[in-house]
């Protein structure tokens, strides 16, 4: 007998394993690159296929390539029709219908996380900055028996725990609702429904057993609720059929239905059925009344009930059941032995006869619920794990879902998580997270027993959340949710964000702004600069210099900004190109404080505006300021000195004062007498030289100008010198 049952088991196991193996086998997809099974032909033509994965999107690039270089081979046809073809294969790691679920559960997760963060901060505030006291509280955890913790602290801690519980309860209920709702939405997709069904079963059990407030409470009603929520209840059609039939007691489905209602504690349905029976002939009516009375009176342990009160109440009720069961003449009151069997069975069920309950149950989950409800109504979760689970665990079919349920019933959370990880990444990550928050799982770093640097490792919950977020990231439009998950992982989150952001495709201008906004919100400064730099490069290539400068400033690339400004100034001096004005106008004022060259450009624009508005004295002041502040690059000084000519030669009044004239003279001498004169004058010389005028390069000007052109430029400055001397005389006279 034992041997045969073992053999049965092993056979069943093996069929389960086969199914699991099939599920794990990679799915084959045909890309149409060659005929199925024709890979040998490909090899004969010296061709094979190569492929590269996308860094994070579920995408694969496949292309045909040569096995050996063509030169090495002889007599092999070189061409292959598909050689110039690159095929991109894309698949859905996440079913599109699941996206709303991912979004809404993220909201719940984030809300709970924020709650916890607030509590942490709040705790720091209430302990008025006394770090040691707070640590002491945290270290002790729930162990308050030791001395040194005051009653106020104890109360505070209890309050904190209660608030944590509350937020966990709320989040868990939310997750459960989402799981149930999405199971309904996904009607059209059997594969997803299957997964959601499993996730719901596991989450529901965990929620009822472990996430409620009092862990020592009786679990009978919870287990019943769990079983009722997903194992088929008595079908409604049967109920209608029985109701409409004439004579109830002889209907073949009547008694099975009553039995089912009794074990499932469907009081209303049982009463409706039995009430009908009560209208029949006397023996039936009497039985029906007794059963209705017993079913209605059956006590179920509630959380807030005192143990002794319930015990005596249940005992009383049980005695009543037994009295009726052994009542003399019960058999005599019924017409047929078959009828009697059914009534007898109903009483046996109510009396908690284990054999009867066993034959009523179709699976171990049902048996568990019935046994706890009728035999051990006061059992807590721990007692169920110790006393009932060992007797029924053999009946599990070995699937991940059932094993996870058993592990949860036993309170072995690590084993439960291991099984959950085979079912779905969403389930395992969120379950681990909530169990850690509820202090049911250790929140220390992974593999702590190995010693070494604890800072290098994250918690189990974080590692699962990171994995889940990476899976979410494979859907291109979901980068935001994935990054938010990363952002809520304290240990490695930032590193993951930093690695991900450069890979987010910036397909539109708004997308770019969104990514930048995310970087600003989370203080990802390096990444923000990287994006600005990439955008600036693009703008520069498109010839939109103003925007390029703005982005380079944001990216902190001041050298590049200076290079662009120099290029613009060269173009202005050499060819009279006024593009620099556009840039100077476009640059936001706050950028001017960060970059000297931009600030010069802006001031130079200001000088031109004053000059055009014929506000000469102010223009002169501005010009001198450009020299004295050191903002102007020296190679631009000759041009600025030439700009001063009209001001110096203004007939109607003296515009440049004595001091300012001295200053301009000093600048002129500094250029002319410098050993780097050639360098400083090159730009101006280039303007005169028709060969360099077409040369747009900034650096190229200095080398490309000959000595005679430099002398010509120097002669031009002689004019400035004359004007300065004349102006000085006029200014002194004034």
């Amino acid at each position: 007998m034992l041997a045969s049952s073992l053999r049965d088991r092993s056979e069943r196991r093996s069929s389960v394993e086969v199914a699991a193996e099939q599920a794990q086998r990679p799915k084959e997809r045909c890309l149409g690159l060659c005929k199925p099974g024709a890979i040998k032909d490909l090899l004969q033509t010296n061709r094979t296929l190569r492929a590269t994965f996308h860094p994070y999107i579920s995408e694969l690039v496949v292309y045909p390539t040569a096995v050996k270089p063509k030169e090495v081979l002889e007599g092999v046809p070189g061409g292959f029709p598909q050689d110039k073809k690159v095929t991109v294969a894309r698949w859905n790691a996440i079913h599109p219908s699941r996206i709303p679920f991912i979004n809404s559960t993220f909201g719940l997760f984030a809300e709970m996380d924020d709650w916890f963060n607030e509590l942490k901060e709040g705790k720091a505030v209430t302990s008025t900055g006394e770090e040691s006291r707070r640590e002491r509280l945290e270290l002790r955890g729930e162990d308050f028996s030791m001395g040194g913790v005051t009653s106020t602290e104890r109360e505070e801690y209890a309050k904190l725990l209660a608030r944590e519980r509350e937020s966990i309860r709320k989040a868990s209920a939310g997750y459960l609702r989402q799981l149930r709702d999405h199971e309904l939405i996904l009607r059209t997709n059997p594969e997803e429904i299957g997964v959601f069904g499993k996730m719901f079963i596991i989450w529901h059990l965990c929620d009822l057993l472990h996430l409620k407030n009092n862990l020592d409470r009786p679990v009978a009603s919870d287990l019943l609720e769990w079983v009722n929520s997903f194992f088929e209840s008595p079908p409604k059609q049967d109920f209608k059929e029985i109701q409409t039939s004439g004579r109830l007691s002889s209907h073949p489905k009547f008694w099975p239905m009553v039995h089912k209602c009794i074990v499932r504690h469907h009081v209303t349905t049982a009463v409706i059925l039995l009430n009908k029976l009560a209208t029949e002939a006397p023996p039936c009516s009497y039985i029906a009344e007794v059963l209705i009375d017993l079913i209605r009176k059956m006590p179920i342990a509630q959380e807030d009930m005192s143990v002794n009160a319930f015990k005596s109440e249940f005992q009383e009720w049980r005695e009543e059941v037994r009295t009726y069961t052994w009542e003399e003449g019960l058999r005599a009151r019924l017409q047929s032995p078959e009828h009697f069997q059914n009534v007898w069975r109903a009483f046996k069920l109510l009396a908690g006869d284990e054999e009867a309950l066993k034959s009523e149950a179709t699976c171990w989950q049902e048996l568990l619920a019935y046994t706890v409800l009728f035999v051990h109504p006061m059992f807590s979760g721990r007692q169920v794990a110790d006393e009932i689970i060992p007797t029924i665990r053999e009946d599990s079919d070995g699937s991940a879902t059932e094993e996870a349920c058993i592990a949860l019933l036993e309170g072995d959370f690590h084993r439960a998580i291991r099984h959950c990880s085979k079912i779905d990444p969403w389930l395992v990550s969120h379950l681990t997270d909530i169990l850690t928050r509820a202090r049911l799982l250790d929140d220390g770093p992974l593999l702590d027993q190995l010693g070494g640097n604890r800072g290098d490792r994250c918690t189990l919950a974080e590692s699962y959340l990171l994995t889940y977020a990476e899976i979410v990231l494979t859907v291109p439009s979901m980068w935001r949710v994935a990054l938010e998950y990363f952002a809520r992982c304290p240990r490695f989150g930032r590193a993951f964000i930093a690695a991900t952001i450069p890979h987010i495709p910036l397909t539109s201008e708004f997308e770019t702004r969104k990514v930048l906004s995310f970087c600003r919100m989370h203080g990802m400064e390096t990444e923000r600069r990287q994006i600005h730099k990439a955008v600036a490069h693009q703008r520069y290539r498109e010839g939109r210099l103003g925007e390029a400068v703005m982005d380079y400033v944001e990216a902190g690339e001041h050298r590049r900004v200076a290079a662009i400004v120099d290029k613009l100034l060269d173009a202005y001096v050499l060819r009279g190109d006024y593009a620099w004005r556009d840039v100077a106008k476009a640059v936001p004022r706050r950028a001017l404080y960060d970059n000297d060259r931009l600030s010069f450009l802006s001031h130079y624009l200001n000088f031109h505006e004053l000059h055009n508005a014929k506000r000469f004295p102010e223009a002169a002041e501005k010009l001198v300021e450009l020299f004295t502040s050191g903002a102007a690059p020296k190679r631009f000084w000759p041009t600025l000195l030439l700009d001063a000519l009209p001001l110096l030669e203004w007939k109607h009044e003296v515009v440049v004062g004595v001091e300012n004239t001295y200053e301009l003279m000093r600048c002129l001498e500094e250029i002319i007498t410098s050993h780097r004169k050639g360098e400083y004058l090159a730009l101006l010389a280039g303007k005169e030289n028709p060969d360099t005028r077409t040369d747009a390069g900034a650096g190229g000007v200095a080398e490309g100008v000959g000595e005679d052109w430099i002398q010509k430029a120097e002669k031009m400055l002689q004019v400035v010198r004359l004007a300065l001397v004349r102006n000085l005389a006029r200014a002194m006279m004034k």
Partner: protein, 292 residues
């Protein structure tokens, strides 16, 4: 709530507007297309003229597809960043990702406006009158653009030192000299630009991150709805912008619509003037409705 009609478009939608007189919809996309769709009954036959409250299914039929910025850069993919519909003459102004501004209409060929150095990194656009546009930019500028003039752009003078980047702009429905902008730091500003060299403003620091859209209530023009990256929507009531750039003590919004379990950014917002319902859509791929 169920969608009554779906329409596939090329790229991400960057702007949507209903034509007032007839049930037609303008859509601009990030890949540079501008569509006009007509609302038709479910069989795709007759054009629907009135929409009743009864939940009937509609279809959308493509009437016109334009690429307004193509002329400016042939061969390049120029997307539309923002769009504004002039309700009376039906003209649509779009901002291209290459920085160009185009005016299109159902009847006329799209025309590209002359390049203007003032208009850099434009993020939002709206009509002030049939010949004047107003634009906001990442440089923090508000620029008025008169289509009739030779040098059309006129920047709004801002004297508060360093203006922060602006994401959007809207013109008040009854007083065209009142503008609203939404900035990068979460500040909503209402401007009175009657004196464009000394505009007055009122600040509402109601959000904690980028404000993506601002809209005036078409009937109660003193109310403004806003949405932001921080996941909230606000209804702000402005008074006459008084002083120039004096930062008031933080003025609370009239209503703040935020779901604690909704943390992702809200990208778009609108208000139903008669029913007083605010609707917003965001990164959570969901629509949030709230009665105020």
């Amino acid at each position: 709530m169920e969608p009554t009609a779906r329409l596939p478009v090329d790229g991400d939608v960057t702007g949507l507007a209903w034509v007032p007189e007839r049930p037609a919809l303008f859509t601009s996309t990030s890949r540079g297309a501008l569509y006009i769709h007509e609302l038709v009954d479910q069989d795709g036959g007759e054009v629907v003229t009135t929409i009743t409250d009864r939940a009937t299914k509609f279809g959308l039929r493509e009437v016109l597809k334009l690429r307004p910025h193509e002329k400016n850069a042939p061969g390049q993919k120029v997307g539309c960043i923002a769009m504004a519909l002039h309700e009376t003459n039906g003209e649509i102004a779009t901002v291209g990702s290459d920085g160009s501004i185009a005016i299109s209409g159902a009847m006329a060929e799209p025309r590209i406006l002359p390049h203007d150095p003032e208009l850099l990194s434009v993020t939002g656009i709206d009509w002030r009158s049939s010949h004047e546009l107003v634009m906001s930019s990442l440089a923090g500028r508000i620029t008025l653009f008169d289509l009739r003039q030779r040098s059309p752009s006129r920047p709004l003078a801002q004297e508060n030192g360093s203006p922060s980047p602006l994401n959007c702009v809207a013109v008040n429905t009854s007083q065209p000299h009142i503008l609203a902008t939404g900035g990068q730091q979460g500040v909503v500003q209402v401007w009175d630009i009657r004196n464009s060299s000394r505009p007055t403003t009122e600040l509402f620091p109601v959000h904690s991150s980028d404000v993506w859209e601002v809209r005036f209530n078409p009937i109660r023009a003193e109310d403004l709805v806003t949405c932001s990256e921080d996941g909230s929507m606000c209804v702000v009531r402005w008074q006459q912008p008084q002083s120039d750039f004096s930062v008031d003590p933080a003025r609370p919004p009239l209503h703040r619509i935020q779901d604690p379990s909704h943390k992702l950014g809200m990208n778009s917002v609108d208000i139903h003037p008669e029913k007083g319902t605010v609707a917003g859509g965001g990164d959570a791929a969901a629509i949030m409705l709230s009665k105020i």
